[in-house]
Symmetry: C2
Subunit: 256 residues, 2 copies
């Protein structure tokens, strides 16, 4: 579907940069993209690009500097732990051309955390308090080591439970636009049957993005049809028209 | 970890471009990245970047033209069905600056398929035979509509079962480099405990990429340590040294 059709002035956009060799090696299945997309949808922000890149500083710098200029918000996941391969904070500082140092508030949070836990706050762990100059902290209620925000870039952990908790901390800081609404219907109709009518419907409703996704379930072939728009009346009208088309095709429709 | 350390002349690289609003909306969880990464690993090709982009021609053109120059191979998934939102083939033709038309062999495959199936081979379905000039077909044993290869770019379907079948067809065409070998160990040790020794070990073995991934399982905190290298002797030596470090830490190691 053509998201361009919804590029009204009200549209607020975002990109995600997933930093992690473990995703690129196939060792770990990413779960953060879908979570972020869903959270952003709920507050009226459209995720328009995801980049998954390795733990290499120049790659991180290039991706961040491209995305932060093109989109309203950028979210990163991964690479903010205590080990030598955690280079995200330093790379973000390099991208913005600012210094990086142990952040007083981050040091305080971690010092208290390790006193309470009875664990040594060693040099490696102090790396997790290194925050680019000018950044503000993002609360981490799970394991304390904070994420951070610098301008329109939010830096989060890669472990899904921590990323999700940080996302909760971030959401109140975001200014969304028009909320993307969606209606969908699954029909036991092959894409090739509905394609012509759907294309004509798309031309009739340029404000509604129409996506068509084939599925095979228990030997049955069908299509999930997804309509999305920031304009509720147009969305409803297009959806009714779609149902009429499917009824004409005598489809046994299951509303989803 | 720093893949740069393994950038020997033998390294063969790849990028993936996932084309699909349904992934960016959070509606669909991508499964193709991990599958491609694993397949490529097995033949000695390193996946170094993934981009997930919407069904917008200019976005597809830009991503393809960037990636096909930077990496040895590019793989795409999504957008090659019969509906109006399936614009991948046209966008790839635009990226290469070549024409696109119904491909005789693709038309033959689909004509036969629809005769056997007793289904109408209508105009929408004929869209699936549109292939950029100069491309060769990629076999699709699942639903027949072919993918294609143009220069170093392979275009596949987004439905995981079809993408996986196409990948099987593609594998014999790929020329891999040195195979990335890996050894890993999960230890009930926090990242902050092992970080200093691991960083020193990384410096001792620059040919081995060392990744550290924290986990929380059943209330236990631990770290998965992953060593990767194209040099088996160096990998084994680094792994033995890592086990010695963990033994000194008195860790209860479970070899994975």
């Amino acid at each position: 579907m053509t998201l361009q059709d919804n590029r009204t002035p009200k549209t607020v956009t975002a990109a995600m940069v997933v930093i992690g060799d473990e995703i690129l090696s196939g060792r770990t299945q990413d779960k953060n993209v879908a979570h972020l997309a869903t959270c952003l949808n709920d507050v009226g922000i459209q995720l328009l690009e995801v980049r998954i890149i390795p733990d290499i500083e120049q790659e991180i710098v290039d991706a961040i500097n491209f995305c932060r200029k093109k989109y309203n918000y950028v979210f990163t996941s991964g690479g903010i732990g205590p080990t030598h391969d955690d280079i995200t904070a330093d790379s973000i500082a390099a991208a913005f051309g600012v210094g990086i140092d142990h952040h007083p508030e981050a040091m305080k949070i971690l010092t208290e955390h390790y006193i309470v836990s009875g664990i040594e706050f060693n040099e490696a762990r102090k790396r997790m308090a290194r925050i680019p100059d000018g950044a503000s902290l993002v609360d981490n209620p799970v394991s304390k080591a904070p994420g951070f925000r610098i301008e329109n870039v939010f830096v989060m952990a890669g472990v899904p439970a921590i990323m999700q908790a940080m996302m909760q901390s971030i959401l109140p800081e975001l200014t969304g636009g028009a909320k993307m609404l969606s209606r969908s219907v699954g029909a036991p109709v092959a894409e090739g049957i509905i394609a012509a009518d759907l294309g004509a419907l798309q031309k009739e409703f340029p404000e509604v993005s129409m996506g068509s996704y084939p599925f095979y379930k228990q030997g049955l072939l069908g299509t999930n049809l997804v309509l999305r728009s920031v304009e509720p009346e147009k969305l409803d009208a297009a959806y009714d028209a779609l149902l009429a088309i499917l009824a004409q095709l005598d489809a046994d429709i299951n509303k989803i």
